[in-house]
Protein backbone atom coordinates (compact mmCIF):
# COMPACT_ATOMS: atom_id res chain seq x y z
CA UNK A 1 0.00 0.00 0.00
CA UNK A 2 1.57 3.26 -1.11
CA UNK A 3 1.24 6.13 1.27
CA UNK A 4 1.47 9.53 -0.37
CA UNK A 5 4.17 11.72 1.20
CA UNK A 6 2.98 14.78 3.05
CA UNK A 7 5.38 17.29 1.54
CA UNK A 8 8.00 17.84 -1.08
CA UNK A 9 10.76 16.82 1.25
CA UNK A 10 9.27 13.43 1.72
CA UNK A 11 8.65 13.12 -1.99
CA UNK A 12 12.30 13.90 -2.63
CA UNK A 13 13.32 11.46 0.05
CA UNK A 14 11.25 8.73 -1.52
CA UNK A 15 12.72 9.45 -4.90
CA UNK A 16 16.24 9.32 -3.49
CA UNK A 17 15.48 6.01 -1.85
CA UNK A 18 14.25 4.21 -4.92
CA UNK A 19 15.62 0.72 -5.09
CA UNK A 20 19.06 0.38 -6.59
CA UNK A 21 19.79 -2.33 -9.13
CA UNK A 22 21.69 -5.22 -7.65
CA UNK A 23 25.28 -5.72 -8.79
CA UNK A 24 25.38 -7.65 -12.07
CA UNK A 25 26.96 -10.82 -10.66
CA UNK A 26 24.82 -11.11 -7.56
CA UNK A 27 22.35 -13.65 -8.90
CA UNK A 28 25.08 -15.75 -10.48
CA UNK A 29 27.03 -15.82 -7.22
CA UNK A 30 23.93 -16.74 -5.26
CA UNK A 31 23.13 -19.63 -7.62
CA UNK A 32 26.72 -20.89 -7.57
CA UNK A 33 26.94 -20.85 -3.80
CA UNK A 34 23.56 -22.48 -3.54
CA UNK A 35 24.66 -25.27 -5.84
CA UNK A 36 27.88 -25.78 -3.91
CA UNK A 37 26.10 -25.85 -0.56
CA UNK A 38 23.60 -28.37 -1.83
CA UNK A 39 26.42 -30.63 -2.99
CA UNK A 40 28.06 -30.27 0.41
CA UNK A 41 24.81 -31.13 2.17
CA UNK A 42 24.31 -34.20 -0.03
CA UNK A 43 27.85 -35.35 0.63
CA UNK A 44 27.38 -34.80 4.36
CA UNK A 45 24.17 -36.80 4.24
CA UNK A 46 25.96 -39.48 2.30
CA UNK A 47 28.71 -39.57 4.90
CA UNK A 48 26.12 -39.75 7.65
CA UNK A 49 24.34 -42.61 5.88
CA UNK A 50 27.63 -44.37 5.31
CA UNK A 51 28.51 -44.02 8.95
CA UNK A 52 25.07 -45.17 9.94
CA UNK A 53 25.36 -48.16 7.64
CA UNK A 54 28.80 -48.93 9.02
CA UNK A 55 27.42 -48.69 12.55
CA UNK A 56 24.58 -51.03 11.67
CA UNK A 57 27.00 -53.49 10.11
CA UNK A 58 29.29 -53.25 13.12
CA UNK A 59 26.39 -53.67 15.51
CA UNK A 60 25.23 -56.64 13.47
CA UNK A 61 28.70 -58.13 13.50
CA UNK A 62 29.04 -57.58 17.24
CA UNK A 63 25.60 -59.03 17.83
CA UNK A 64 26.39 -61.96 15.59
CA UNK A 65 29.71 -62.37 17.31
CA UNK A 66 28.06 -62.30 20.71
CA UNK A 67 25.46 -64.80 19.63
CA UNK A 68 28.16 -67.05 18.21
CA UNK A 69 30.07 -66.68 21.46
CA UNK A 70 26.97 -67.60 23.42
CA UNK A 71 26.43 -70.67 21.24
CA UNK A 72 30.07 -71.61 21.68
CA UNK A 73 29.74 -71.21 25.44
CA UNK A 74 26.63 -73.37 25.43
CA UNK A 75 28.41 -76.00 23.36
CA UNK A 76 31.46 -75.95 25.61
CA UNK A 77 29.28 -76.14 28.68
CA UNK A 78 27.40 -79.13 27.34
CA UNK A 79 30.68 -80.77 26.43
CA UNK A 80 32.08 -80.16 29.90
CA UNK A 81 28.93 -81.60 31.43
CA UNK A 82 29.25 -84.72 29.27
CA UNK A 83 32.87 -85.08 30.30
CA UNK A 84 31.94 -84.89 33.97
CA UNK A 85 29.32 -87.57 33.54
CA UNK A 86 31.76 -89.69 31.53
CA UNK A 87 34.36 -89.32 34.25
CA UNK A 88 31.88 -90.37 36.89
CA UNK A 89 30.72 -93.29 34.79
CA UNK A 90 34.28 -94.48 34.40
CA UNK A 91 34.80 -93.98 38.11
CA UNK A 92 31.77 -96.12 38.77
CA UNK A 93 33.08 -98.78 36.45
CA UNK A 94 36.48 -98.74 38.13
CA UNK A 95 34.92 -99.06 41.53
CA UNK A 96 32.73 -101.87 40.36
CA UNK A 97 35.82 -103.61 39.15
CA UNK A 98 37.49 -102.94 42.46
CA UNK A 99 34.55 -104.35 44.30
CA UNK A 100 34.59 -107.46 42.17
CA UNK A 101 38.29 -107.96 42.69
CA UNK A 102 37.97 -107.47 46.41
CA UNK A 103 35.10 -109.87 46.52
CA UNK A 104 37.02 -112.44 44.54
CA UNK A 105 40.13 -112.01 46.65
CA UNK A 106 38.34 -112.38 49.93
CA UNK A 107 35.87 -115.10 48.91
CA UNK A 108 35.66 -118.16 51.08
CA UNK A 109 36.75 -120.29 48.10
CA UNK A 110 40.06 -118.57 48.03
CA UNK A 111 40.69 -119.28 51.60
Amino acid sequence: MKLEPIDDFERDLRQSLERRPAPPGLKRKVMERRSWLRTQRLQSRSVIWQRLAASVVLAGALCGGWMWHERQEQRKGEEARREVLTALRITGHALNEMKAQLAAHHSPNQE
Partner: protein, 202 residues
Protein backbone atom coordinates in the same frame (compact mmCIF):
# COMPACT_ATOMS: atom_id res chain seq x y z
CA UNK B 1 73.47 -57.25 31.68
CA UNK B 2 72.66 -60.44 29.78
CA UNK B 3 72.87 -62.49 32.97
CA UNK B 4 70.38 -60.19 34.60
CA UNK B 5 67.98 -60.59 31.73
CA UNK B 6 68.29 -64.37 31.81
CA UNK B 7 67.79 -64.41 35.57
CA UNK B 8 64.74 -62.22 35.20
CA UNK B 9 63.22 -64.43 32.51
CA UNK B 10 63.86 -67.57 34.54
CA UNK B 11 62.33 -65.92 37.55
CA UNK B 12 59.21 -65.05 35.58
CA UNK B 13 58.97 -68.58 34.19
CA UNK B 14 59.44 -70.08 37.61
CA UNK B 15 56.87 -67.80 39.14
CA UNK B 16 54.43 -68.57 36.35
CA UNK B 17 54.94 -72.29 36.88
CA UNK B 18 54.35 -71.85 40.60
CA UNK B 19 51.23 -69.83 39.99
CA UNK B 20 50.01 -72.36 37.48
CA UNK B 21 50.74 -75.19 39.87
CA UNK B 22 48.77 -73.42 42.54
CA UNK B 23 45.82 -72.74 40.30
CA UNK B 24 45.84 -76.21 38.76
CA UNK B 25 46.37 -78.92 41.38
CA UNK B 26 45.84 -81.68 38.83
CA UNK B 27 49.11 -83.32 37.92
CA UNK B 28 50.53 -83.34 34.44
CA UNK B 29 50.06 -86.70 32.68
CA UNK B 30 52.89 -89.10 33.40
CA UNK B 31 55.04 -90.00 30.39
CA UNK B 32 53.96 -93.67 30.49
CA UNK B 33 50.36 -92.65 29.75
CA UNK B 34 51.33 -91.55 26.29
CA UNK B 35 52.78 -94.97 25.54
CA UNK B 36 49.73 -96.78 26.90
CA UNK B 37 47.41 -94.55 24.91
CA UNK B 38 49.36 -95.25 21.76
CA UNK B 39 48.77 -99.00 22.18
CA UNK B 40 45.15 -98.79 23.29
CA UNK B 41 42.32 -99.40 20.86
CA UNK B 42 39.95 -97.21 22.83
CA UNK B 43 41.07 -94.17 24.80
CA UNK B 44 39.00 -92.00 27.11
CA UNK B 45 40.78 -89.12 28.79
CA UNK B 46 39.01 -86.55 30.90
CA UNK B 47 40.80 -83.71 32.66
CA UNK B 48 38.66 -81.07 34.31
CA UNK B 49 40.13 -78.37 36.51
CA UNK B 50 38.25 -76.36 39.13
CA UNK B 51 37.12 -73.67 36.69
CA UNK B 52 35.93 -76.17 34.14
CA UNK B 53 34.01 -78.11 36.79
CA UNK B 54 32.32 -74.90 37.90
CA UNK B 55 31.49 -74.12 34.27
CA UNK B 56 30.08 -77.60 33.70
CA UNK B 57 28.05 -77.33 36.89
CA UNK B 58 26.06 -74.46 35.35
CA UNK B 59 24.87 -76.78 32.62
CA UNK B 60 23.69 -79.55 34.93
CA UNK B 61 19.97 -80.06 34.95
CA UNK B 62 18.89 -79.05 38.42
CA UNK B 63 15.58 -80.83 38.05
CA UNK B 64 17.21 -84.20 37.44
CA UNK B 65 17.95 -85.91 40.75
CA UNK B 66 21.28 -87.33 39.65
CA UNK B 67 22.50 -84.21 37.92
CA UNK B 68 21.51 -82.11 40.89
CA UNK B 69 23.49 -84.48 43.10
CA UNK B 70 26.38 -84.33 40.63
CA UNK B 71 26.35 -80.57 40.73
CA UNK B 72 26.46 -80.62 44.49
CA UNK B 73 29.34 -83.06 44.35
CA UNK B 74 31.53 -81.23 41.86
CA UNK B 75 30.89 -77.75 43.18
CA UNK B 76 33.65 -77.93 45.74
CA UNK B 77 36.08 -80.11 43.80
CA UNK B 78 39.51 -78.96 42.65
CA UNK B 79 39.68 -81.33 39.70
CA UNK B 80 38.82 -84.64 38.08
CA UNK B 81 41.39 -86.67 36.18
CA UNK B 82 40.18 -89.86 34.53
CA UNK B 83 41.87 -92.19 32.06
CA UNK B 84 40.41 -95.36 30.60
CA UNK B 85 42.38 -97.45 28.13
CA UNK B 86 40.96 -100.51 26.43
CA UNK B 87 43.18 -102.87 24.51
CA UNK B 88 42.48 -105.38 21.75
CA UNK B 89 44.43 -108.17 23.36
CA UNK B 90 46.12 -109.05 26.58
CA UNK B 91 49.77 -108.31 27.29
CA UNK B 92 49.68 -104.77 25.85
CA UNK B 93 51.16 -103.36 29.04
CA UNK B 94 53.50 -104.58 31.76
CA UNK B 95 53.28 -104.55 35.53
CA UNK B 96 56.29 -102.22 35.55
CA UNK B 97 54.26 -99.66 33.65
CA UNK B 98 51.41 -100.05 36.15
CA UNK B 99 53.85 -99.54 38.99
CA UNK B 100 55.22 -96.43 37.30
CA UNK B 101 51.68 -95.08 37.12
CA UNK B 102 50.93 -95.76 40.74
CA UNK B 103 54.17 -94.26 42.01
CA UNK B 104 53.69 -91.17 39.90
CA UNK B 105 50.43 -90.33 41.71
CA UNK B 106 51.42 -91.61 45.15
CA UNK B 107 52.96 -88.64 46.93
CA UNK B 108 53.41 -88.31 50.68
CA UNK B 109 49.92 -86.88 51.09
CA UNK B 110 48.27 -90.04 49.81
CA UNK B 111 47.33 -92.98 51.99
CA UNK B 112 46.86 -96.33 50.35
CA UNK B 113 43.76 -98.10 51.51
CA UNK B 114 43.46 -100.80 48.88
CA UNK B 115 46.38 -102.52 47.21
CA UNK B 116 45.30 -105.78 45.59
CA UNK B 117 47.32 -107.88 43.16
CA UNK B 118 46.13 -110.98 41.33
CA UNK B 119 49.18 -112.48 39.71
CA UNK B 120 47.35 -115.13 37.71
CA UNK B 121 44.93 -112.86 35.96
CA UNK B 122 47.10 -109.79 36.18
CA UNK B 123 44.30 -107.80 37.74
CA UNK B 124 45.22 -105.14 40.25
CA UNK B 125 43.36 -102.58 42.31
CA UNK B 126 44.75 -99.53 44.08
CA UNK B 127 42.73 -97.05 46.06
CA UNK B 128 44.35 -94.11 47.80
CA UNK B 129 42.91 -91.20 49.67
CA UNK B 130 44.50 -87.85 50.29
CA UNK B 131 44.03 -86.59 53.78
CA UNK B 132 44.76 -82.98 54.64
CA UNK B 133 44.42 -82.02 58.30
CA UNK B 134 42.40 -85.15 58.79
CA UNK B 135 39.95 -84.31 56.03
CA UNK B 136 39.50 -86.17 52.79
CA UNK B 137 40.80 -84.03 49.93
CA UNK B 138 41.17 -86.56 47.17
CA UNK B 139 40.65 -90.05 45.94
CA UNK B 140 42.76 -92.12 43.59
CA UNK B 141 41.64 -95.38 42.02
CA UNK B 142 43.70 -97.51 39.68
CA UNK B 143 42.14 -100.68 38.36
CA UNK B 144 43.83 -103.00 35.94
CA UNK B 145 42.25 -105.81 34.00
CA UNK B 146 43.91 -107.90 31.31
CA UNK B 147 42.53 -105.66 28.54
CA UNK B 148 41.54 -102.50 30.38
CA UNK B 149 43.24 -99.97 32.56
CA UNK B 150 41.45 -97.23 34.48
CA UNK B 151 42.83 -94.30 36.44
CA UNK B 152 40.54 -92.08 38.49
CA UNK B 153 41.84 -89.09 40.39
CA UNK B 154 39.40 -86.78 42.13
CA UNK B 155 40.85 -83.82 44.01
CA UNK B 156 39.08 -81.64 46.49
CA UNK B 157 36.92 -82.06 49.54
CA UNK B 158 35.00 -85.21 48.72
CA UNK B 159 32.46 -87.13 50.69
CA UNK B 160 32.22 -90.72 49.65
CA UNK B 161 28.58 -90.85 50.64
CA UNK B 162 27.83 -87.97 48.22
CA UNK B 163 29.41 -89.95 45.40
CA UNK B 164 27.43 -92.97 46.45
CA UNK B 165 24.19 -91.01 46.07
CA UNK B 166 24.60 -90.88 42.32
CA UNK B 167 22.41 -93.92 41.82
CA UNK B 168 22.23 -93.88 38.06
CA UNK B 169 25.97 -93.88 37.65
CA UNK B 170 26.74 -97.51 38.20
CA UNK B 171 29.37 -98.53 40.60
CA UNK B 172 29.57 -95.37 42.61
CA UNK B 173 27.55 -96.99 45.34
CA UNK B 174 30.68 -99.03 45.95
CA UNK B 175 32.17 -95.90 47.39
CA UNK B 176 30.02 -96.44 50.40
CA UNK B 177 32.00 -99.56 50.94
CA UNK B 178 35.24 -97.66 50.40
CA UNK B 179 34.13 -95.24 53.07
CA UNK B 180 33.67 -98.10 55.46
CA UNK B 181 37.10 -99.55 54.88
CA UNK B 182 39.28 -99.65 58.00
CA UNK B 183 41.93 -97.25 56.76
CA UNK B 184 39.43 -94.65 55.73
CA UNK B 185 37.15 -95.23 58.69
CA UNK B 186 39.95 -94.66 61.19
CA UNK B 187 41.13 -91.60 59.41
CA UNK B 188 37.57 -90.29 59.27
CA UNK B 189 37.26 -90.68 63.01
CA UNK B 190 40.45 -88.72 63.46
CA UNK B 191 39.09 -86.14 61.07
CA UNK B 192 35.95 -85.67 63.18
CA UNK B 193 38.04 -84.97 66.23
CA UNK B 194 40.29 -82.51 64.46
CA UNK B 195 37.28 -80.82 62.86
CA UNK B 196 36.01 -79.92 66.30
CA UNK B 197 39.39 -78.49 67.15
CA UNK B 198 40.21 -76.61 64.00
CA UNK B 199 36.74 -75.58 62.83
CA UNK B 200 35.19 -75.88 59.40
CA UNK B 201 37.76 -75.18 56.75
CA UNK B 202 35.39 -75.62 53.82
Amino acid sequence: MNNRIIAFVLGVVGLSATVLAQTSPLPLPPPVEKELAARASNVTEVTLGKNMLAFASKFMNGKDEDEAATRKLIDGLDGIYVRDYEFDKEGQFSMDEIEQLRKYFETSEWTSIVHERERKSGETTDVMVKLVNGESHGMFVLTVEPKELTIVLILGPIKMEDLGKLHNIGGLSALNEVAKMPGVKDKEKTKDKTKVKTGDNE
